[in-house]
């Protein structure tokens, strides 16, 4: 291979709408917001020339220049802190973590600075902190986490995790326009999944933060989930339909603030709730949702609330171990059948 010349690289502006993958949808969303609002800028590791480890910011540098697409040193604390400072000055940073696992290095800045500014002195921070999360691709203990539960117990941070291309675009736009800090988690398994390719509207649209979506309507039981597990839930629902079970799937989309109304409406309709998430079971968001249901829909329940989640271990690398660790379709089916028969 001749190593002397590298192919000239130029990434095109994404189309406005059209058929898009999940990753393309996020890229469109950021791009359009940068066009619409000169205060929006991108900051993170390798987001410029390289276009981000997963190419979410591909082409932005050519279009918007180094002033608004900022490659940083490997300093997550500085990325978060500087994003906060710039936001105080009226800018709207969209900060990337190369993998969401590295959000831990910015934890202090997020939970102590970003989360508490408005409450302490009325200074809202219009910031977005985004990055690839999730397991199932054999990336091991440090490139697989689902970080939502680390932050659920920190009032002041909104948490968003879409599961469709349409929502990904609409929610990233909403996050960028939001006056408060938003953590935006993108399951890496979804980025290029052919199944998620869909036609997006040409016109500008946002998806409201704080609103869940009924991914599938049903009467017999509710699977409440988000992110990549929405697909598992839909697969389970399709299979259970053949067994005569009519499953409703709620895609939370926003994890904080939680759309309690959507959860309760569904559970009051079906009287049975299965909570599904990919992070470890103990201390996961499932516990919170179960409590909400117990507190506010107890009389409507016909069965115990069931959680299906990862086991309480780090995410292991080897495929058989990772499979054991993660919730599988079969687990959802088993749990749903037991719940239905209860």
């Amino acid at each position: 291979m001749s190593t002397a010349t590298k192919k000239e690289h130029k990434s095109n502006r994404p189309s406005r709408g059209g058929v898009a993958t999940f990753v393309e949808a996020i890229r469109q969303g950021i791009w359009e917001e940068m066009e619409r609002d000169p205060t929006v800028f991108v900051i993170g590791e390798d987001v410029g020339v390289y276009g981000g480890a997963f190419k979410v910011t591909d082409g932005l540098l050519d279009e918007f220049g180094e002033g608004r697409v900022i490659d940083t040193p490997i300093s997550e604390g500085a990325i978060v802190g500087a994003a906060c400072g710039a936001a105080l000055m009226g800018m709207r940073p969209v900060a990337e973590f190369q993998f969401i696992d590295f959000i831990s290095c910015g934890f202090d800045m997020l939970t102590n600075y970003a989360a508490k500014c408005r409450y302490r002195w009325g200074a809202g921070l219009a910031t977005v902190f985004r990055g690839p999360c999730g397991a199932g691709v054999h990336s091991g203990p440090f490139h697989s986490i689902n970080a939502e539960a680390f932050f659920l117990n920190t009032p002041g941070l909104k948490i968003v995790e879409p599961s469709t291309a349409y929502d990904a675009k609409g929610l990233i736009k909403a996050a960028i326009r939001d006056p408060d800090p938003v953590l935006f988690f993108e399951h890496k398994k979804l980025y290029r999944l052919p199944r998620l390719r869909e036609e997006l509207p040409e016109d500008d649209y946002v998806v409201e933060i704080g609103k869940a979506r009924i991914a599938r309507e049903g009467r017999d039981l509710s699977i409440i989930t988000f992110g990549a597990q929405v697909l598992t839930a839909l697969d389970a629902a399709a299979e259970l339909e053949r067994e005569g079970l009519d499953v409703e799937v709620i895609d939370l989309r926003t994890l904080a603030p939680l759309d309690k109304e959507a959860i309760l409406t569904s559970v009051k309709k079906t009287s049975k709730a299965l909570l599904l998430h990919e992070a470890a079971r103990t201390g996961g968001i499932g516990g919170e949702i179960a409590a909400v249901i117990a507190e506010e829909a107890f009389e409507w329940l016909d069965a115990p609330v069931v959680r299906v989640a990862a086991i309480d271990t780090p995410v292991p690398y080897s495929p058989p171990l990772e499979e054991y660790h993660l919730p599988q379709l079969k687990d959802v089916l088993d749990a749903a059948r037991k719940l239905a028969a209860y």
Binding site: T3, E76, G140, P141
Partner: protein
């Protein structure tokens, strides 16, 4: 003042010319030349001929293990990423070879050479990459993410910089136990920008702990050039901020890497405290196998290919009459044999039993394993 003298001693061991960019600036010959005018290695060394040949073996072993890993990856026998140290093997091998058996290292992903010098066998590496049950982490973690206390090897985690405080703690613990050892932490030009790096090294410096930082300056952190990582001229300049000596060494000269580390270890062991060594080298492959290196200026790779540390060392060994080409070929054949054997061993390992995932989060004689819970708590 101390820093200056330290640098001088590094210089006699093959100090690289200072430079700002990794692109060609006419200093390809910034090192000793043989009679044919080709780049070789420093001749000022205490290494015996036998040691020099052993160094050669480790260099070849490192490169050939990695080449085999790439093959296995392409055959989809490795499901995680493969990270190459092509072109910078001399840094890991030369620096680690200068250590005593009781010393500890924490390498980075591109320091396979140091791991091998510490006595980890290729079979462990292959089994680990292939996620096999016989791998040292039994399939739980990737690549060199494991450890072997008996060999002084503390595997890294992915989070860059985190191993600097940990290695400071190794040195601290050892001192409390009156053990005379040095703790060597490898870090990249990128990893040096982390908060953990700063906190760890600062602590080591104020405690005058025998911690040696090997700052591998390979000019890129993923796609990010050093100029976007730090405003200092040389990474060794950072040492001043911690009040410790900083050295610069030609990271592609395996003998120079050995010599500078040897001296630093003596200094640290003798109570001098922490030391920072900047090894100037170059990452010739992308960050990982998938990286198309679109960000490289043209010509840069060619220049560094000419400075290949193994070719250079071969020329050195031959022109110094340490070995003949035949002897080097013999060593290579021996390495090949070891690799073939070890790959075969690793391939014969089963994959881990799924349920093993649940074990070992805690001491399971006290806390039960995290087995899958039964739905409805028991039925």
């Amino acid at each position: 003042m101390k820093k200056e003298t330290q640098r001088k001693s590094a210089s006699s061991a093959g100090l690289a010319k200072k430079r700002r960019g990794a692109d060609g600036d006419g200093n390809n010959n910034g090192g000793p030349l043989n009679v044919a005018g080709e780049l070789v290695c420093t001749t000022e060394t205490t290494l015996t001929d036998a040691q020099m040949l052993e160094l050669y073996r480790y260099l070849k072993l490192t490169r050939m293990v990695e080449e085999r890993l790439v093959n296995l990856y392409r055959q989809t026998k490795i499901v995680g990423g493969v990270f190459r140290s092509l072109g910078q093997e001399a840094t890991a091998v030369g620096t680690c070879y200068a250590l005593e058996p009781q010393d500890f290292i924490s390498p980075l992903i591109r320091d396979l050479g140091a791991v091998l010098v510490k006595g980890i066998r290729p079979r462990e590496i292959f089994a680990q990459y292939m996620a096999k049950a016989w791998g040292p982490s039994e399939g739980r973690d990737l690549n060199i993410h494991f450890g072997d206390m008996s060999k002084g090897f503390i595997g890294p985690i992915s989070h860059l910089g985190d191993m600097i405080p940990v290695m400071t703690g190794i040195a601290l613990g050892a001192r409390m136990q009156h053990k005379n050892l040095v703790a060597v932490a490898y870090i990249g030009d990128g990893g040096m920008s982390t908060g953990a790096f700063h906190e760890g090294l600062n602590f080591a410096a104020v405690q005058r702990l025998p911690v040696i930082i090997i700052a591998e300056h390979n000019w890129y952190a993923y796609s990010t050039p050093t100029s976007k990582q730090t405003a200092v001229k040389d990474l060794a300049d950072k040492a001043a901020g911690y009040g410790i000596p900083g050295h610069i060494v030609d990271g592609n000269d395996v003998i120079a890497c050995y010599e500078v580390t040897k001296k630093a270890a003596e200094f640290a062991r003798g109570g001098g405290g922490a030391v920072l060594i900047e090894a100037k080298t170059y990452r010739r492959k992308g960050h990982a196998e998938h990286d198309d290196q679109r960000y490289l200026p043209s010509g840069e790779l060619d220049e560094w290919e000419r400075k290949d540390p193994i070719d250079r060392y071969e020329r050195h060994l031959i022109s110094q009459n340490v070995a003949t080409r035949e002897k080097l070929n013999e060593i290579m054949a021996d390495v090949q044999r070891e690799i073939d054997e070890d790959v075969e061993w690793a391939e014969s390992s089963p994959m881990p039993e799924p349920e093993k995932a649940a074990y070992g989060v805690f001491d399971n004689s006290i806390a039960p394993p995290a087995l899958r819970p039964k739905i409805f708590g028991g039925n």
